[in-house]
């Protein structure tokens, strides 16, 4: 028993650590880890990962909320879209065959690899458009010298549409879909990148929580796997968060992309063989 537990914990710790360093979250790495290395069926890996993502988001977003990086109003409005998508995705996950889910996962990993390589979004905007201004979505972000800089928010409908997609991916594949969320806020809604990342991290808890509740109430969560995985991924993410400021992540980015592409090929190959 100890060998199984140690293996699951080490796998989860590594997934949480790499997920935090790459900014992609633990879900992207723990699902293929469980499927390919621990030989756990895809839908059980997805359920365990959703639980782990809830824990990781709760642990990681505390400091961002406290320090003022998270835009809570943007999060609340966009969660309407992500939760709708997540519940739909988690429900669909019970109907879709594992090889199709694995193929979708491989495609999503390639999208994450592209996300890691792409340039950051354009400059943020100073003033919100009329809809975002009416919803008071603009905010202030803290600067190093103790002052705060105001920023505006635009294109809520475009961002919300992409958030529905992020929610479906989260519920279907057991990931936080942070890459899609940050793209929606940074590219479409012109939020500053660090605010986008912090807000995405915060929203991931509710998105993955919606999916986890569907899995848990359906009886599709294996506690023997989900509990040690949740503990391991959270510990790995906290460890990664501490190491992150001391590392040159830019240099590691190519390594993350290679890992993502290799796992995507392995998952895609396995899916094709089982179709």
């Amino acid at each position: 028993m100890l060998r199984i537990l140690a293996g699951l914990f080490a796998l989860s710790l590594g997934a949480g650590f790499v997920g935090a360093l790459s900014g992609l979250g633990g879900g992207v790495f723990i699902v293929p880890g469980l499927v390919l290395l621990a030989h756990v069926p895809m839908h059980i890996a997805v359920g365990a990962s959703l639980i782990a993502v809830v824990a990781t988001s709760a642990g990681a977003s505390v400091a961002f909320v406290r320090d003022g990086w998270t835009n809570l109003r943007v999060a609340i409005i966009l969660e309407c879209a992500t939760v709708t998508g997540a519940v739909t995705g988690a429900y669909m996950a019970g109907l879709i065959s594992p090889p199709v889910l694995e193929m979708l996962f491989a495609v999503m990993m390639l999208q994450s690899a592209w996300f890691s390589l792409r340039a950051q979004g354009e400059e943020s905007v100073e003033h919100s458009d009329p809809l975002c201004a009416r919803l008071r979505l603009g905010g202030k972000m803290p600067e190093a010298d103790g002052t705060a800089t105001s920023y505006g928010v635009v294109n809520l409908p475009g961002g919300a549409a992409l958030m529905v997609v992020a929610g479906v991916l989260s519920g279907l594949l057991g990931i936080g879909a942070g890459a899609v969320k940050v793209t929606a806020m940074d590219y479409l809604m012109k939020l500053p990148l660090k605010v986008s990342s912090a807000t995405s991290n915060f929203m991931i808890g509710v998105t993955a929580g919606a999916g986890a509740l569907v899995f848990l109430s359906r009886g599709d969560i294996a506690a023997s796997i989900a509990a040690p995985v949740a503990l391991g991924v959270t510990a790995g993410a906290l460890w990664g968060g501490r190491v992150l400021p001391r590392l040159n992540v830019g240099a590691l980015r190519i390594l993350f992309v290679i890992i993502l592409v290799l796992i995507a090929i392995e998952m895609g190959w396995r899916a094709l063989a089982n179709l």
Partner: protein
């Protein structure tokens, strides 16, 4: 306008103060319960755990168990029930956070955000109901 800006700043201040506390408290409680479940497994039922792991690898789950059954199991110190309860407590993170926000916006009569948070809370509850039927 100034009044609305002040109200918005007040809401943000309350949210930034209380949200981290809610997140951290639930995370700690669920972690303690899950660690206890794993420790009980190691101490009293290692063979059961190995059997469950083998069954899971073959895609066999225990299926849905009612909260009452789990609470009974937890009282009897069943490791599996303790771990599942830990997972349920963890899923209270989003529910509690959204419910707290809903109460705050209701108190402040900020009805656009009352509607948004009520929708998110309803969708989370709908997820539980969908899981039960599907």
């Amino acid at each position: 306008m100034a009044t609305q800006a002040t109200a918005t700043a007040d809401e943000d201040r309350i949210l930034r103060r209380w949200t981290p506390l809610i997140l951290r408290a639930i995370l700690i409680v669920s972690t303690v319960i899950m660690v206890a479940g794993i420790a009980l497994s190691i101490t009293f039922a290692p063979d059961y755990y190995v059997g469950r792991f083998d069954a899971i690898q073959r895609g066999r789950l225990l299926g849905h168990e009612s909260v009452w059954q789990l609470v009974q199991g937890m009282r009897q110190g069943q490791p599996h029930a303790v771990m599942i309860i830990g997972l349920y407590v963890l899923t209270l993170v989003p529910l509690a956070r959204v419910a707290f926000t809903l109460v705050l916006f209701l108190k402040e009569r900020d009805f656009i955000y009352v509607a948004a948070t009520a929708y998110v809370l309803a969708a989370l509850i709908m997820g539980v109901m969908l899981g039960r039927v599907g």
